[in-house]
Amino acid sequence: MSTSTAKQTSSLTFKRRKLRAPYLLLIPAVGILVIGMGYPLVWQIVTSMQEFGLQQQFGKPAPFVLFDNYIELATKASLWVVVGKSILFCLVTAVVTLAVGLALALLMNAVSKGPRLVLQVALLLAWSMPVVAAMTVWIWLFDRRRGAINYLLDAIPGVDMNRFDWLENPLTFFAVASIIVIWMSVPFVAFSAYAGLTQVSEEVMEAAQLDGANGWQRFWGIILPMIRPVIAIVFLLQIIWDLRVFTQITMLQDAGSKSSEFDLLGTYIYKLGTKAQDFGMASAVSILVLAITIILSWFYIRSLLKEDES
């Protein structure tokens, strides 16, 4: 290790200083994490066990109610509807993103350099769009009266989409949200999967072809097993990222309706905290969101830790 020569020549004090060095180096990072994340997290855990409503905003002490907020949540039908919708939204979006991304990666692998480059540039441009700008464009595209999407769909013979309001009904509202999230997320999946595909050796593929394996068999038998680690991680990240769609849902609600039918977990917490001023309950739901995320992330974190040890 790097310390070997130094160790032999070092005096006792020098050694002690070296032992302290890593901790000193960590102080700023740990400090900012404690302030920005640690303290709010502890506050949130404490508050989730308190009754912390409007009266407490004006200085009344918050009584400890232990798990009452959680019990109230567990028995609250409206919360379970939001949790269910969030999970469904997240799974559907992540699965479609993965399928489309994988298909595009295979396509990139199959075509010659020119078309591949065109496709890659298009995907990169979509990927690089800031979320808020992407949202304004998509809201404009889906605009009821003058949006390009209704115009183009209406031009298909037999389809009447003139003035169709996508954001009026929860089902089409979430479909629009999902389309936007998929549009933004596919590039990452496609590029990661493509990076994996380029590692699959030509010889193995040719040998399989000579042995008479058709395209489908080669995909399931060779390509998929070889890129499985990438796919697993990318899919996991998509699920975690698709749970955090507060920006997208908030802006679609700006353009459509703020009614609670259109809420997912992020906007639900936001409304509990800002509109109802019920910080106890908002904290309890936040803890639920954090718990879901950490459980889902554990596999990913473990794989990164393995990388760290090697």
Binding site: M1, P22, Y23, L26, P28, A29, L33, G36, M37, P40, L41, W43, T47, L107, A110, P115, R116, V118, L119, A122, L124, L125, S128, M129, P130, V131, V132, A133, M135, T136, V137, I139, W140, R146, A148, Y151, F188, F191, S192, A195, G196, P229, V230, I233, T247, D254, A255, Y270, G273, F279, S283, V289, L290, I294, S297, I301, L304, K306, E307, D308
Partner: protein, 278 residues
């Protein structure tokens, strides 16, 4: 022969998909150049012939853009600077030293990196408001730095580990102090890593919406994403000037697109490198 034809057809398919995928980005720029009269007609105009920069002038006219730009630039600069320094020091600690608590720190970093803003923003709002820092540059800067530092440490760790410690030791043999060897030999080799991490921090701070929404409640202190959202919010009450909204979106998006294209490769490999190498 048929294999060649299939390849051709797939190539055409790839280009068609590319056109669809890039269409929203194109549409943003296209609409930003068209006058409102054209945008209000039922038939969309697909190519901005006779376009002008009037929408940009209009979007910039009331000065709120520059206020938001100032806010975004200040926060972003603070975040990038502190993030790089803090993450660099921590990356040196975890890649050059084996010490007690190292593994716990690495796990903490990885866990924090996964936490969604939605899971903490109410608590962060309470914290920042209790010290009277709502509507300030400091509030979002602290939260963003804390949120971005973990991934930055992770990215830099790879770069620091990639530089052999032997090089440094050789420098020390030649009479440099440990610090001097580090600054003269390791630091310049780290430059690409620092650039990539800095751009990552920039993108995060520049694009962030959720935390900014709760920490910057007053309109005078908005960042660019909040400013842009204001246009969509206004559309609920009056006719939207989509040309202007698209011009505003283009203004917000262009610096991001440029910087993103610079570091894209490193970001992907940072997230999935272990898995790709398999």
């Amino acid at each position: 022969m048929t294999a060649k034809l299939t390849k051709r057809l797939l190539g055409v398919l790839a280009i068609v998909i590319a056109v669809f995928w890039v269409f929203p980005v194109y549409w943003m720029v296209n609409s930003s150049l068209l006058p409102n009269v054209t945008l209000q007609s039922f038939v969309p105009t697909f190519i901005p012939f006779g376009g002008s920069l009037d929408n940009f002038t209009a979007a910039l006219s009331d000065g709120s853009f520059f206020a938001a730009l100032g806010m975004s630039v200040s926060i972003t600069l603070v975040v990038v600077l502190f993030c790089l320094v803090f993450a660099f020091l921590a990356a040196v600690a975890i890649s050059r030293f084996r010490f007690r608590g190292r593994k716990s720190f690495v796990i903490a970093v990885l866990v924090v990196q996964m936490l969604p803003a939605e899971g903490l923003f109410i608590a962060q709002y309470k914290m920042v408001s209790s010290v009277g820092l709502l509507d300030s540059v400091i509030g979002p800067s602290v939260i963003y730095t804390a949120a971005v530092v973990p991934f930055t440490i992770w990215m830099l760790r790879g770069f620091v580990a990639g530089i052999p410690a032997d090089l440094e030791e050789a420098g020390m043999m030649d009479g440099l102090s440990r610090f001097g060897a580090f600054m003269r030999i390791t630091f310049p080799l780290l430059a690409p890593g620092l650039v990539a991490s800095g751009v990552y921090a920039f993108l995060q701070a520049w694009n962030e919406f959720t935390v900014a929404l709760v920490l910057l409640p007053s309109e005078a202190n908005q960042t660019l994403p909040l400013w842009l959202r204001g246009f969509v919010q206004a559309s609920a009450t009056r006719e939207t000037d989509w040309g202007q909204v698209m011009a505003a979106s283009t203004l917000v998006a262009v610096p991001v697109i440029v910087f993103f294209l610079l570091v894209q490769g490193r970001l992907t490999s940072g997230l999935v490198s272990g898995a790709v190498k398999g």
